[in-house]
């Protein structure tokens, strides 16, 4: 079972982490990029992202698990910031 993460950052900086329950960073994607890794069924993971910019910026994060899994519906996070900003988001999940 794989998770595939795609990120886009326009006029800003983004970093997206996939962290294991042992607090080990499995994936780290910066700005606009993509990566993937295998997931272990039953394990709990932390999906976390951070953004910042000194101006208005647009971000996208798309993450899918293949094959489809109820523990992780497709994620399609899209957000625009109209001024300088620093922000984060994230959640726990298990497949």
């Amino acid at each position: 079972m794989n998770i595939i993460i795609n990120t886009q950052a326009k006029n800003g900086h983004l970093i997206c982490y996939l962290i294991s329950s042992e607090n080990i960073t499995i994936l780290s994607i910066k700005d606009s990029g993509s990566d993937n890794c295998k997931l272990i069924p039953g394990s709990t993971y932390r999906f976390e992202w951070h953004v910042w910019s000194d101006m208005k910026a647009d971000y996208k994060i798309n993450a899918v698990v293949s094959p489809i899994n109820q523990g992780f519906p497709d994620l399609n996070w899209v957000k625009s910031y109209g001024d300088s900003h620093q922000d984060m988001g994230g959640f726990y999940f298990s497949v």
């Binding site: 910066k30 606009s32 951070h50 994620l75 996070w77 109209g82 922000d87």
Partner: protein, 371 residues
């Protein structure tokens, strides 16, 4: 095709740094270290400085013209490429005006005379992953926020949305780690000087001089309530420049009818000087986005020159238009004060204070280079 044309332009301008005799216009004191960073549609940026000293490199390519009172006009092209939080830059700065009048004594913010080719390398350091404890607190606040609001996908809720909630902002707090920057800039300036060493024939000599400069900077933005408020940087600068003597007017007779001709020349070859400087800079903007103006006070100390300089640029920043086009001319003014520290007596305000009005016109012709 556009890329090829601009790269060709850069190669042409930067070609041939060998010394050779030429006839040309008189140049003034040596090159300024920090060429002015201009941004086109980034004028709404809270850390943007149209023409002041900038320890933080622009992240995008740009082309601009700048005119500073008593310093002349410069055109500058910057090409930038960013990847993986590295920014690589190449710039060409060309003096346009032929009659540069003055140079700031401590070479603070200012325009380069002659032609300057520079390279820039910048790295962002940022590891904002929060602790498990902080992340759990964030999840708890998010769960409360979700219960109070109709949320389609709770996974997409961010810290800023929770903090915008009038109830949660008093119950939840999370300090996010800020990035910091490291910047290396190197440049070579080619400037032409005309002078004479022949007090009889007043034969004019024109020579080109190549001087290097080097700067290392580190800086970080300051956020308050997760909103960027200001930027602070500290830099070390090595610079070399040539100082010229006073311009003298020589009157010599010619013919047998009592006629005279006059020649205005600098007597004596320019002298090379170097300086090591420490600079601290703080930048912030004031006001709402559409009516921003910014200040960037800086303090510079020349270790070799024993000079101390204070600069206060004030930028008039306008946001881009609704169709994201820059609003054209941007301007401001700069107050600079420089004093010698050798004798322990401060230079008088009359002699040390310089006030300039500066206007920059950005050209958004390099948008295709920018990501």
């Amino acid at each position: 095709m556009k890329k090829i044309f601009i790269l060709f332009f850069i190669l042409i301008v930067s070609d041939s740094f060998s010394l050779k005799a030429q006839i040309g216009h008189t140049q003034n004191d040596g090159p300024k270290i920090d060429s002015l960073n201009k941004i086109t549609e980034r004028f709404a940026s809270k850390t943007f400085s149209p023409f002041g000293k900038s320890s933080l490199s622009n992240f995008i390519s740009s082309f601009s013209l700048t005119s500073a009172y008593n310093e002349g006009e410069n055109g500058k092209i910057e090409l930038k490429h960013s990847k993986n939080w590295w920014t690589y830059g190449l710039s060409v700065d060309q003096a346009i005006s032929k009659n540069d009048k003055e140079s700031t004594p401590l070479d603070l913010d200012g325009l380069n005379s002659g032609t300057t080719v520079g390279f820039n390398l910048q790295k962002i350091f940022w590891n904002p992953a929060v602790t498990k404890n902080d992340f759990d607190n964030f999840q708890q606040a998010k769960n409360r926020f979700v219960r109070q609001n109709k949320i389609i996908d709770p996974r997409e809720i961010t810290v800023s949305e929770i903090l915008n909630d009038s109830i949660e902002k008093n119950r939840f707090e999370l300090k996010l780690k800020h990035p910091w920057f490291f910047n290396i800039t190197g440049s070579f300036n080619k400037t032409e000087y005309n002078y004479t060493t022949d007090s009889v024939g007043l034969t004019k000599i024109g020579r080109e001089y190549l001087v290097p400069s080097f700067k290392i900077s580190a800086g970080a933005p300051y956020f308050k309530n997760n909103e960027l408020k200001s930027f602070f940087a500290i830099s070390y600068i090595y610079s070399a420049n040539y100082s010229v003597g006073n311009t003298l007017t020589f009157i010599t007779p010619f013919s047998t009818r009592g006629n005279y001709i006059s020649k205005t020349l600098v007597f004596g070859a320019p002298l090379r000087k170097t300086d090591n400087r420490i600079n601290m800079e703080w930048r912030t903007t004031i006001g709402e986005e559409s009516q921003n103006f910014g200040i960037a006070p800086s303090l510079t100390y020349g270790i070799d020159s024993k000079k101390l300089g204070v600069s206060l640029p004030v930028y008039i920043i306008k946001g881009s238009s609704k169709d994201k086009k820059p609003l054209g001319l941007q301007g401001g003014f700069r107050l600079s004060y420089t004093t010698d520290t050798r004798n322990g007596v401060l230079t008088s305000i009359e002699n040390g204070l310089v006030a300039q009005v500066i206007i920059t016109a950005p050209f958004d012709v390099l948008g295709s280079f920018n990501k």
